[in-house]
Symmetry: C2
């Protein structure tokens, strides 16, 4: 046998004193969270030294063989397409029946409090339909480009496969995310206050390649993508955005788009409000001015105090939310070392900084950003602190690479009033109580 431990490089790396030093350094770095977890030495159980209450008595889950150690489980033929554990039944999208007249033109919400990292699993990406989910056989799907072009074109799925593809991660946020919070703390859980956002790796053809194939005429300034579902969703988009970074996407997180996300193709409009990311994309018209469709006049405009409305407010501003702890995810391990976690994003670019307050915005400390940092993708942040069991008012405040700072609720209201539904990017507050439970509150 050839043993690569005889390699002097490996032997050196394994030198016990070096390793011991490494461990000592790790212990030193970690001293702040040395929490005195339950101790056990040989067969004897030592006393717990600190705040972790469980596992101080002999634990049959360790000392006795359990069913899952004893019996064979399901084989590799059981799940051609896998699904979550039966013990994760709370990690689901939830709709709020009273929000709309019918579930076919409504929304459900991403369970942000059950998620980690920055990728939203496809099965949990929030849904917003205006005419229910179109079920389209890709063999029967066509994409037409018409209007102010040299050559109107029709693309099949196979045609689209001939064009170069890109892979990019972007958040998609509904303009109405946090909309209920304009008039006060309304919904008890980040799933409902902030769950109209998801973050996905798309694979798609840059729209500029398809427009170049058709040839946009000099007079062409605006683009009208149209959805193939029964709502025929249409939005006016400036041509420069389409030539910049829009994609005609066919895949999300590695696999084909899901039906509720526009299968077999959707428009990706990075950093801009979700309503513009037309699903079941069937037609792209080029024009010389915006069309003023229903969804950019009576809807998706921001009514101000003076009766005027802001419109064409496409970019989603810098925003963040603490996902854990939160009303649906209380602190359930008692006092002591606690990891606070959350998400931050900006339609302008990268998030450069997130600060966290545990006293309702009086004092701020920098959070730790971890994981990939991409432009117009969500960022994961953490804040490690020692919870003494007292009441807390948790807030997070994001800053993006262009210096945009997430505002307080009152600062935003002073600017926009409370008539609006859309574009509420203000700071969220969770009230943590001594029992670890959390509630949606406002601070003055």
């Amino acid at each position: 046998m050839t043993d690569i431990n005889n390699d002097p490089k490996s032997t050196k790396a394994l030198n016990s004193q070096l390793v011991k030093d490494d461990v000592k350094r790790a212990v030193s770095r970690r001293s702040a969270i040395k929490s005195g977890l339950a101790l056990m030495s040989g067969g004897a159980i030592a006393a717990s030294t600190a705040s972790v209450a469980n596992a101080v008595t002999p634990d049959p889950l360790i000392t006795e063989i359990q069913d899952w150690n004893r019996y064979l489980g399901e084989g590799v033929d059981a799940r051609p397409y896998g699904s979550p554990s039966q013990f994760e039944s709370e990690a689901v999208r939830r709709d709020v029946p009273w929000l709309t007249a019918d579930a076919k033109s409504s929304v459900n919400f991403t369970p942000l409090h059950k998620l980690e990292g920055v990728i939203t699993p496809n099965g949990l990406c929030f849904e917003r339909h205006h005419g229910g989910i179109a079920e389209i056989d890709p063999a029967d799907h066509r994409l037409m480009i018409n209007g102010l072009v040299d050559t109107p074109l029709i693309f099949t799925m196979e045609d689209l496969k001939r064009f170069p593809r890109e892979n990019k991660v972007y958040f998609l946020e509904c303009a109405a995310n946090s909309g209920m919070e304009w008039r006060g703390a309304q919904l008890n859980g980040c799933q409902f206050t902030h769950g109209m956002v998801h973050n996905v790796m798309y694979t798609g053809v840059p729209l500029k390649y398809l427009l170049a194939e058709a040839g946009v005429k000099t007079a062409g300034k605006w683009v009208l993508p149209e959805g193939g579902d029964a709502s025929h969703m249409t939005r006016s988009i400036p041509l420069d955005k389409c030539l910049d970074d829009c994609l005609v996407a066919t895949h999300m997180n590695g696999e084909a788009l899901r039906p509720e996300q526009g299968y077999p193709m959707r428009l990706v409009v990075p950093g801009w409000e979700g309503n513009m990311w037309i699903k079941w994309l069937r037609r792209i018209e080029i024009g010389d001015k915006p069309w003023h469709q229903r969804e950019e006049t009576s809807k998706y405009t921001d009514l101000l105090e003076d009766g005027l409305a802001r419109r064409f407010t496409w970019v989603m501003d810098v925003k963040s939310v603490i996902t854990n702890p939160s009303p649906q995810a209380p602190i359930d391990h008692g006092r002591g070392q606690t990891v606070l976690s959350g998400l931050a994003w900006s339609g302008h670019g990268k998030v450069s900084r997130v600060d966290v307050s545990i006293d309702g915005g009086r004092n701020w400390k920098p959070a730790r950003l971890d994981g990939p940092s991409w432009s117009r993708s969500v960022h994961r942040f953490y804040y490690d602190f020692n919870w003494d069991g007292s009441e807390l008012l948790l807030q997070s405040r994001a800053v993006d690479e262009f210096g945009n700072v997430q505002p307080t609720k009152n600062a935003l209201r002073a600017q926009r009033g409370v008539n609006s539904i859309y574009h509420n990017n203000s700071i969220q507050t969770w009230h943590i109580k001594p029992d670890g439970s959390a509630e949606n509150v406002e601070v003055s």
Copy 2:
């Protein structure tokens, strides 16, 4: 109404001449793939100019209203946890019943030919079980650290939540991936030749933090993680690897681990063979030498021509495969502009370059790498070429940042013989026929 088009910056950006110039430049860049897709002007249909055969006659899929444009679909209450389109039934994991005696100790394969980007969806990550899927209630799960430590510890899931987390994307490849190919072209499809690999964003606690909490004694040099399933999988891992980059992961691609991937916790051993990434992790023992368990002696060692075996061959070497076209994914759009796509990875670090040959390795051209490039994560590559309908011998060859080059099958055999099952990272060949179909072949 406030119209942000009055903003001079927007107006400038939308200046029609500038836009036209942009489009012209895009057309110029794209001239090589100007494929003359089906033309349509107003109601009249112009003649097709080139190689795309379909859509040259009036297309009722465009001119007539379809059912999915006419009728409302399912609402937001229909799918609390979503699933793929009914038209994606081919995008599933597949097992090969004759490979093993029982599906409870077997493998199934990731459908690489149906995927895009670099993230493998959780439902499609290949499975390898040695005792079936353990179904564990996280409330009943414990992780013990014992052996050469100052303080043996038992962790509950709640205890683990107190420790800092990291988010990292890594490939996991079974050491036996491509193992059937040692003795010749055997399996017809990249799902079967290369599908024992997946690529996932993990969230987990660095193992070094947990080891520091227990305190590794000076004599401690090796680590034995043990699985909580009925196979009690155990592997010896050098302590320096555990202190470097191993994670105790609880989440994959944003959500809780799937049962078949070790729910509620698994070990992540970046770049090293998948068998060491212990699932359903229940115990970590520290020792002063390797344990020589079954899975590192009779299995997962590489039998050479002279009867000796290589062992402790942990790192997965640089490798790549063309996923499209391939035997399960023929060219089905005819001649002309064609996008070749594939995956490349290295257990040593990042992939720095992939070359593609269409003539069985005589001539090589650089592929385009696209999407995130992370150390020990898969990389996506593309090669755009004009297929003239002739026979092709497609190959890809990856090079990593340390200069490791993927070998030919014969070069690897010259070094290792053909007794081995594991660590076949050699170049794969697909024979493309004039009808666009593909076959697994060898070239001398």
